[in-house]
């Protein structure tokens, strides 16, 4: 899990999901709100226009029943529900209340009517009813042409109507009987919120309500659609983000591969600039430049070591040759002879160092050349072991070497690996009971040898460094014991020149074990 969390791609994906999620939710809420507003305004619109289709006289209860049925019919189409109707006076007197009016409490919260008390029952109810209708049509701007006759009648009756509602007119009104715009509000009731339009006129109130729960049902559909589509969208976005991030990371991955494939022998390689975009091109260029500098200085260093080693060879040859001659000419058992002997030995040591330096330079340049010849690995092992048995008679040597471990190997290099491993095994062994155990096995493709010895083992903090150049596990150990600190490093280089490997398999108090693997070339 931790690895996942550290993945750049994963983080990009999560970030994208979070951002998209926020946007989606905000969008969803906004849409829902807008949808709600549209719905409510539709309701309002209908509440405003419904009454004008049929509007009976306030006290004409049968007329209200008819009106109620009519609006119910219309409402069932428009709102998918009933219209609750309540006609009441300013004193709270109820003239009409539809069957499903939700609650009494709702009544208390309804606004009181403005205007005057209801007029006495009209002497001409038909005429008055007609007026309601006419006024409605006039307000809607219709019927002027279609109902020219009625218009005339309306005009004719103006005087009478004025008489009937003479106390009603207010200045600026369309006419004395005009119905003011309803007051629209949302009130809570026992069946949920109700959208109400309350008409006030002349002491009467007509409250028409629609249950918003019917609207809410439609909202539920919207919400469900959103709840299904949003996660789907998020999944698609996540997948998209993953793909895009992966694509974006491709050049980085390519660079990573290229960088990890850079080894000493392949410093000359460069990463190809692709079509990934300028950001990555720049990175690749910078990396290539760095590689270039690295290669140059590395080559210089390598060439320097190689040149130095070469340059040393001629003076060494001279020194060695003359010392040899001098040694042979010196009188027997003389001080001179011993001195020349000593000098010759030191010259030979110098020569050894020079040779190693040259080998290291070659190893660094990846140029250790190996001359493979068909070699019996087992006999190389036993030969080397014999030497060390001779040298260290106190050490117990155990050998488990399979027969016929034959492969194309560079005899000289492999011998040097074996000698180095054996000499380490003998040197860093248990003081009281030294032992060395060698196991060599072969498969079709590999020869594997493990060489173990006793002793206190390599300290844990030093285990990673044993193959480093000039590494000495215990710096207090003296030179003659430790060679030049190059043995394991060079041995590993030799093994690798064979495409093999030399590694520390185990080191603990009581046992240290190295493993050498050499592939059998086809």
């Amino acid at each position: 899990m931790m690895r996942w969390r550290q993945s750049f791609r994963f983080r990009i994906m999560v970030l994208t999901i979070v951002l998209s999620g926020i946007v989606l939710v905000a969008f969803g809420l906004e849409t829902r709100w807008a949808f709600y507003l549209i719905k409510v305004s539709t309701v309002d619109q209908n509440l405003r226009t419904l009454p004008f289709r049929e509007f009976p006289h306030p006290e004409h209860s049968r007329g209200w029943e008819r009106f109620s049925r009519l609006t119910d019919q219309v409402a069932s189409r428009v709102f998918n529900g009933d219209v609750h109707l309540h006609v009441y006076g300013v004193d709270g007197k109820t003239y009409f209340k539809s069957e499903y009016w939700p609650s009494q409490r709702l009544l208390e919260r309804l606004p009181k009517a403005v205007g005057e008390l209801a007029p006495p029952p009209s002497p001409e109810p038909d005429l008055q009813r007609q007026f309601w209708r006419m006024d409605h049509r006039r307000r809607l701007g219709e019927g002027a042409n279609d109902f020219a006759g009625e218009q005339e009648r309306l005009e004719r009756s103006d005087g009478m109507l004025n008489r009937v509602f003479r106390r009603g007119p207010r200045p600026g009104d369309l006419g004395p009987m005009a119905i003011a715009e309803p007051e629209v509000m949302t009130l809570k009731s026992s069946v949920g919120p109700i959208r109400l339009g309350v008409y006030k006129f002349n002491g009467y109130n007509v409250a028409m309500g629609v249950e918003l729960s019917k609207v809410a049902q439609e909202m539920t559909h919207v919400r469900e659609a959103f709840l299904i589509s949003a996660p789907l969208a998020l999944i698609i976005i996540a997948a998209g983000a993953w793909v895009i991030a992966s694509r974006a990371m491709r050049p980085v991955r390519r660079l990573t591969e290229a960088v990890s494939s850079v080894s000493v022998g392949r410093l000359g390689e460069r990463v190809q600039e692709g079509k990934e975009g300028i950001e990555f091109s720049k990175l690749i260029r910078v990396y290539n430049d760095m590689l270039e500098r690295l290669e140059r200085s590395f080559n210089q260093a390598t060439r320097f070591s190689a040149d130095a080693a070469h340059e040393l060879k001629t003076p060494l040859t001279i020194l060695q040759g003359h010392l040899e001659t001098a040694l042979q000419e010196a009188p027997d058992d003389s001080e001179q002879q011993r001195r020349f002997g000593l000098l010759l030995e030191e010259t030979q040591r110098l020569r050894g160092i020079t040779r190693r330096l040259l080998l290291l330079a070659k190893a660094d340049a990846g140029q250790i050349s190996i001359a493979r010849e068909e070699t019996d690995f087992g006999s190389l092992v036993s030969q080397s072991v014999e030497d060390f048995e001779m040298q260290s008679p106190d050490t117990r040597f155990e050998m488990e070497v399979e027969d016929s471990l034959t492969a194309g190997l560079d005899r000289s290099l492999v011998t040097q690996i074996l000698q180095n491993l054996l000499s380490n095994a003998v040197k860093y062994n248990d003081d009281s009971d030294p032992w060395v155990k060698i196991q060599a096995r072969g498969t079709d493709d590999f020869i594997t040898m493990e060489i173990a010895n006793g002793g206190e083992g390599i300290p844990e903090e030093a285990q990673g460094r044993v193959f480093e150049r000039f590494a000495r596990v215990d710096s207090a150990r003296n030179r003659s014991v430790d060679g030049f600190g190059l043995g394991l490093n060079l041995s590993r280089e030799f093994a690798r020149a064979h495409d093999g490997e030399l590694e520390l398999a185990l080191s603990e108090p009581g046992e240290t074990r190295f493993r050498l693997t050499l592939p059998k070339p086809n």
């Binding site: 040859t317 001359a371 040298q391």
Partner: protein, 223 residues
């Protein structure tokens, strides 16, 4: 045996020529490639010791020129380079043997003698110091008709010491030649092996042939 030494570095040719002469070779010296090539063409030699890096005509070119003219004189190429590919190149061009600098004159002598044996067809594979006889072909050693069983290391050590009786070899020299050791400067093994060899070679009643030169190394008793 007449040898042409083509070597520009005087301080090297000095001791090489001297060493060869001491061992009974006749040595002509050429200090550059052109002289060397001229001498090689005009004179008759049993062998040529050829430095590869030379002023004037370089060693590989001399070798090529000689072989192109059908001159089959044995050539030992000597160089400070010693890279494998160069060695192969030298051998492909017709060098009979190869020596990497720095080398010991002893080694050169041994190679020259081996070359001579090979080209002259002589079977001088037996070395003798006093009553000790070593047969390089059969790898048998005997003293006073007593067969001596030796391990391969012991045999190589004895053979090396017997190359030139009376000559002192240091431990490192022996280690390098007999064991081919490069890593380990510990020469203890030489002492151990010499003790063993001594026990086998020098019987209780025999003259001690393997001598210790105090502070230096070992040698075969001079005849």
């Amino acid at each position: 045996m007449k040898v042409l030494l083509i070597e520009d570095e005087k301080r090297i040719s000095d001791f090489v020529a001297k060493g060869l002469k001491e061992r009974g070779f006749t040595v002509d010296l050429a200090e550059n490639g052109n002289d060397g090539f001229y001498l090689a063409k005009t004179q008759s030699y049993d062998a040529i010791v050829l430095d590869i890096m030379l002023p004037g005509r370089d060693g590989l070119s001399i070798l090529k020129g000689l072989r192109a003219k059908g001159n089959n004189v044995p050539v030992i190429a000597a160089t400070a380079r010693g890279e494998l590919d160069e060695r192969l190149e030298g051998l492909n061009l017709g060098a009979d043997d190869y020596l990497t600098k720095p080398f010991y004159v002893d080694e050169l002598v041994a190679r020259l003698q081996a070359l001579h044996r090979r080209t002259s067809g002589s079977q001088l594979n037996v070395k003798q110091v006093g009553d000790l006889v070593l047969n390089m072909a059969t790898r048998e050693v005997s003293r006073n008709d007593r067969e001596i069983e030796l391990t391969s290391r012991e045999f190589n050590l004895l053979e090396y010491l017997m190359r030139s009786s009376g000559r002192v070899y240091t431990r490192t020299q022996i280690l390098e030649h007999v064991w081919g050791y490069d890593f380990d400067p510990n020469t203890n093994i030489v002492d151990v092996c010499v003790q063993r060899l001594r026990k086998k070679v020098d019987g209780p009643d025999d003259e001690r042939l393997i001598e210790t030169v105090r502070g230096v190394g070992y040698r075969m008793k001079k005849q």
